[in-house]
């Protein structure tokens, strides 16, 4: 767990019910997949990663999650252990199809923001509308948190968001979220 040393850890004691908490997530297998949209539509999925969902949607198949961030741009996430096998599976699934699969497992650091007011914490530096109607369960997008580029995803109905950032921005992103959470947690 080298990452834990680089990013200061928060106390993981059980938080109060409506407190917003920020948690460093364990490392994932993580790939950038680039593929022509027509091929994605034709294939539908590869190695249990969805390809044909709408842009800015996250689809989970078991532990494999596919976030379509652009017309030809997918972020694929899975538990770390399977990383090399996944690359092979995708490679064979896309044999003969023009694509670029790049391992970015170590490029990014992920945080989980949990709590009813989590959107408010993220909105301290992110201009997107994160209300249920605008950013429902299964949303995923590239956006900004203050001065850092992030990928923001809301995997499910629960008030829980995933923020991914470049690893060198992790201390900044965590510091920003922590400060924002302190203000929001004290709001009422």
């Amino acid at each position: 767990m080298l990452e834990a040393k680089e990013v200061s850890r928060r106390d993981e004691a059980a938080p109060a019910l409506d407190e917003v908490t920020i948690r460093l997530l364990p490392r994932s297998a993580r790939f950038s997949l680039r593929l022509r949209p027509a091929e994605a539509k034709r294939l539908g999925r590869v190695a249990d990663f969805a390809l044909d969902q709408d842009i800015n949607r996250l689809v989970a198949t078991g532990e494999r999650r596919s976030l379509r961030l652009g017309p030809d741009d997918w972020l694929l996430l899975a538990p770390e252990a399977g990383s090399e096998a996944i690359a092979e599976e995708i490679g064979s699934g896309l044999a003969g199809v023009f694509h670029a699969l790049v391992d970015i497992g170590h490029r990014e650091i992920a945080f989980e923001i949990a709590g009813q007011a989590g959107a408010r914490v993220i909105n301290s530096g992110c201009p997107l509308d994160l209300a249920d109607a605008a950013f429902p369960a299964g949303s995923a997008t590239r956006t900004l948190l203050a001065k850092a580029e992030i990928v923001l995803a809301r995997p499910g109905e629960a008030p829980l968001w995933r923020v991914e950032c470049g690893r060198s921005f992790a201390a900044y992103v965590e510091g920003w979220l922590t400060e924002a959470a302190a203000a929001v947690n004290g709001r009422r």
Binding site: E6, S32, R107, N123, A146, A183
Partner: protein, 995 residues
């Protein structure tokens, strides 16, 4: 007696919660619910400041955010001193320390008052006229003195310890202002479930309803209606009510900035709470219910403490239970003052009313007021006032039908309520770029054509009758929510008609008249007259020449009177004179709120590479490179930078050094057309580069100048690992994506940033191979199998790696690329393995020295955006056979192929110990007359441990033809003699690198 001017009953203050504040040297008592203004008035304090220019005694003019006079310094402790707080907007908090400003030695006795006697000198534009000569005095004497005398309040000297927050929010309808119009709008807008934000600058929502003690709405008291409206709104989950929140800026796409004040009203705020929160709201629709400002009357000496706005008198009496005076004269040109007078009378105060309008125009209020036993003088003008630090009398005179001013009469008083009519607060509408329209019937500019999705309601668009205001608000709110509906409200009449008179008729000599139009900027009617006489006819010019409506006032109290004056002097209609532009912020915004969280460690991201923590633990000195923090050098105890760098350089040249190169930009270029894309973007040819080999690549901008460089490895036919400079990573990727997406979408190639995926550990020096070979699996390490400028995939310490044999030092070297999360374990393993060779970690400074010894350039150091490959001596790298690449055509431009361009050379100082300054200019003859002909300049200069002397790189005009010549470089003391040499100082044959 405490609070001698507090009324016995009434008001919204909490008489159960006493508090006290400091004002200058006095301790004053008040109640929770007071503002500083109401508390000061309850204690009989009208004199609260000195005016900006003339240092005239000034009192509280208004009750709201338009207050121009009562600007107080508020001190909440170290770093929490805040100047220029409007006393009308600061809530009284127990223990608050406040003080008046702009006076010396004291508020009561102010030496600056001499300015008032000198007022004939300080006319509009006085410093343009007065301080013209001698010319040189302006910069050295006049301007500094004027600047010292100008300005209001003292800025805090220590850092602000408060926290500030930012928040982005979205809603279907944003309602600005929670007066009757805003409440009605919010109620209607929120019925359908769409998100509504209701922001109001006051501590309590309600606006004018908070001091509306007599009017009824739908059979309820105004207060009951207000309370019910708020209760309804609070019960709706889709509504967010923000009190103490000012909408101060209206930008494109219905982006509205709000400032929420969270803690200033709390005696002991919880420490986690930010002081202020800046909201950036994106609203689908905006309803502006910002109300209207009352206009002062412009007459001689209308600025004495105790002279305030009539509606403000009413507010202080009704809302704060304060008597602004015992004997109040209301002076008016309109109807609303009658209600203020009646309320003052009902509170037991002695009331006289003077109305400019003839008896028959004075409306129903006249009889009502007379029936209450008040004297009302109709058809009277105001020609002056008496008193110095407090008004003691108002001088009035009858106005004949012919306009002649009759005999003067002084009405003794201790307070004057003036009512010059109403000006809709169109600031936000104007900021939204909406076009204003002049409405003669109410003598005001009102919102005309909207540019954005907004609508103004109620007094903000000149609708003053309470029933109309409510109906207007309801209709607008419903419409904004996309569910149009109309509703009638029954409400007591609230007449507000008036005759707009920019300057009250007077028999005084106009040249001596001190009638203030803009209280904050000390602009008189005379100043405006002077400006117009001097030819400033555009209102924008008058504004700048006289400063009227500038600063925080933004025309709130002064605008219409100034416009009216200009129009009347020019004998033009007001619309022909136009109005000035209202600029954000509507009211002042603290720097803290603008900065928000972005301070200290969060001011800017400090990007740290995976080995940053190791470097910190091992005592590295750091430098910032773009956003990155990089280890600069690793001093041992007792070493200075030069000693440490010399030691690190020696280690690399003689043994082995280890360096964190992880910040280098990396881009994975993948696809069957990868080589073709590279061919088009770099000057070099890539088609023949075999997989497993590396090449130094040079990238140009369209103008033919060097943009970036880096080693590129071909991993497979269809996959390149491109490196860029540390600072250029994002720029290069954007440049490549830009071309790929816009010019060559037909190419089958994708780009992915891998900068942060790979940590790059450079192991450099004659012993490099021996150090890493034991750690590497699956790669033949011998020089033949793994030559210089090659790349191999394998494992190091069991971790998958891309192993480059490359060198930026001139020594045998490798760069071990491993996934960033494994960087530290690999780094530590290499260190361990290198112990036997005395492996030495080195930083960016040593890296710079070593590459300079080899004449390797750094983009951004040797280049400055105007340097071609040939200038760097790299012309041979430019492919002659490629049909095209970015920048190719520019390389044939006449000025690029002409002689005289600066070229990269080496310089050796005659004095071997001397290290030239980077940026030093180089000339041929130091004795030539100034301005000398500069041949070029030094780009890099270091102590070279390997050479035992100073070395430098320079860009000199036709430098390559100057080899061996003696030239002269500037130093702090004069010139140093240098010799031009080839830009390589160590191992010119390059044998070491291929070892």
């Amino acid at each position: 007696m405490s609070q001698p001017f507090r009324l016995a009953t009434g008001g919204r203050i909490d008489r159960g919660r006493r508090l006290s504040i400091r004002f200058n040297d006095a301790t004053l008592e008040g109640f929770a619910g007071d503002t500083l203004a109401s508390l000061l008035l309850a204690n009989g304090r009208h004199l609260v400041g000195r005016s900006f220019k003339y240092h005239r005694p000034r009192g509280i003019l208004s009750h709201g955010s338009e207050e121009p006079n009562a600007l107080l310094s508020v001190d909440r402790g170290p770093g929490r001193r805040d100047p220029n707080n409007r006393a009308t907007m600061v809530e009284a908090v127990d223990g608050l320390v406040t003080g008046s400003q702009n006076h010396w030695p004291s508020l009561e006795l102010d030496a600056g008052e001499v300015n008032d006697l000198l007022s004939p000198v300080f006319v509009a534009g006085f410093y343009y006229k007065t301080f013209m000569w001698p010319r040189s005095f302006w910069e050295k004497l006049y301007e500094p003195r004027i600047r010292a005398a100008a300005g209001l309040g003292k800025a805090p000297e220590t850092a602000d310890p408060e926290r500030y927050a930012h928040l982005h929010a979205h809603c279907e309808v944003l309602v600005v202002g929670a007066g009757p119009a805003g409440l009605a709008a919010a109620l209607a807008a929120s019925e359908g479930g769409g998100r509504v934000i209701l922001a109001d600058e006051q501590a309590e929502p309600g606006g004018s309803l908070l001091h509306e003690t007599s009017a009824l709405i739908d059979g309820m008291t105004a207060e009951a209606w207000r309370a019910r409206a708020l209760e309804t709104l609070a019960s709706r989950e889709n509504v967010e009510i923000l009190p103490r929140t000012t909408a101060f800026g209206y930008y494109n796409h219905n982006h509205v900035a709000l400032l929420e004040r969270l803690t200033d009203h709390l005696a002991e705020p919880p420490p986690h709470l930010p002081r202020e929160r800046l909201w950036q709201v994106r609203a689908r629709q905006v309803v502006l219910a910002t109300g209207a400002h009352e206009r002062p009357l412009v007459f001689a000496d209308n600025d004495r403490p105790g002279i305030m706005l009539a509606e403000s008198v009413r507010v202080f009496v009704n809302r704060y239970a304060v008597a602004p005076g015992r004997r109040i004269v209301f002076a008016t040109t309109g109807a609303s003052a009658y209600r203020a007078a009646a309320d003052a009378k009902a509170a037991g105060l002695e009331v006289t009313l003077v109305d400019l309008r003839p008896e028959e125009d004075c409306g129903a209020g006249l009889q009502t007021l007379r029936a209450l036993g008040c004297e009302v003088l109709t058809g009277h003008t105001v020609v002056g006032s008496q008193g110095r630090k407090r008004v003691s009398g108002l001088i009035v005179a009858p106005l004949g039908a012919d306009g002649r001013v009759g005999a003067r009469r002084t009405l003794p008083c201790d307070c004057v309520g003036m009512a010059g009519g109403w000006t809709p607060a169109v600031h936000l509408f104007s900021q939204s770029r909406g076009k204003l329209r002049f409405e003669p019937a109410i003598d005001a500019f009102v919102p005309g054509t909207s540019v954005q999705a907004e609508r103004s309601v109620g007094a903000a668009r000149g609708v003053y009758e309470l029933s109309d205001v409510l109906a207007d608000g309801h209709a607008a709110g419903a419409d904004a929510a996309g569910r149009p509906s109309e509703r009638a409200f029954a409400a007591s009449p609230t007449p507000a008609g008036f005759t707009g008179i920019p300057l009250l008729p007077t028999d005084a000599d106009p040249a001596k008249l001190r009638a203030f139009v803009d209280f904050q900027n000390d602009v008189t009617a005379k100043d405006i007259g002077l400006a117009v006489r001097e030819g400033f006819e555009s209102i924008e010019h008058v504004k700048r020449y006289t400063t009227t409506g500038m600063a925080t006032d933004q025309g709130k109290s002064s605008n219409m009177n100034a416009l009216g004056l200009v129009a009347s002097i020019l004998e033009k209609p007001v619309p022909a004179v136009g109005t000035t532009t209202f600029r954000p912020p509507y009211t002042p915004v603290s720097f803290g709120a603008l900065a928000g969280q972005s301070r200290g460690a969060l001011f800017d991201p400090v990007r740290t590479a995976p080995l940053d923590a190791w470097a910190e633990e091992h005592g590295a000195a750091f430098e910032n490179v773009s956003l990155w923090r990089r280890a600069w050098y690793f001093p041992k105890p007792g070493e200075d930078m030069r000693a440490a760098v010399a030691r690190e350089c020696r280690a690399v040249r003689e043994g082995v050094g280890i360096f964190d190169a992880s910040t280098l930009g990396k881009i994975e270029v993948v696809g069957p057309d990868a080589a073709e894309l590279m061919n088009r973007l770099y000057v070099n040819g890539w088609s023949k580069l075999a997989p497993g080999r590396c090449r130094y690549g040079l990238m140009l901008k369209e103008d033919g100048f060097v943009m970036d460089d880096g080693v590129v490895a071909r991993l497979a036919d269809d996959r390149f690992h491109v490196t860029t400079t540390t600072g250029g990573a994002a720029r290069v990727l954007s440049h490549m994506e830009d071309y790929l997406q816009t010019e060559w979408p037909d190419l089958d190639v994708f780009l992915t940033s891998t900068t942060e995926q790979w940590a790059a550990i450079a192991v450099q020096g004659p012993k490099a191979r021996e150090v890493i070979a034991p750690l590497v699996e699956g790669i033949a390490m011998d020089a033949e199998s793994f030559p210089h400028m090659a790349v191999r995939l394998g494992r190091v310490c069991g971790v998958p790696c891309r192993l480059f044999r490359v060198s930026f030092t001139g020594e045998l070297g490798y760069e071990i690329n491993v996934p960033a999360g494994h960087a530290r374990e690999v780094w530590e393993a290499v260190l361990e393995e290198g112990q036997r060779f005395g492996i030495t970690p080195y930083g960016t400074e040593t890296m710079h020295v070593l590459r300079a010894e080899k004449g390797f350039v750094i983009v951004g150091q040797e280049t400055d955006g105007t340097v071609t490959p040939d200038d760097l001596g790299m012309g041979g790298m430019v492919s002659k056979i490629k049909p095209d690449f970015v920048g190719k055509r520019s390389l044939a431009r006449p000025d690029i192929v002409a002689g005289g361009r600066r070229q990269l050379v080496g310089l050796l100082t005659e004095d071997a110990a001397l290290i030239l300054e980077e940026g030093a200019q180089v000339v041929a003859d130091p004795d030539q007359p100034v301005p000398m002909r500069m041949l070029g300049y030094v780009t890099s200069s270091y102590w070279s441990e390997a050479c035992g002397r100073g070395i430098a790189l320079a860009m000199l005009a036709d430098g390559r033809s100057l080899m061996g010549q003696r030239l002269h470089a500037t130093t702090q003391e004069g010139f140093a003699t240098v010799q031009v040499v080839e830009p390589v100082f160590v191992d010119a044959q390059g044998e070491r690198i291929r070892a």
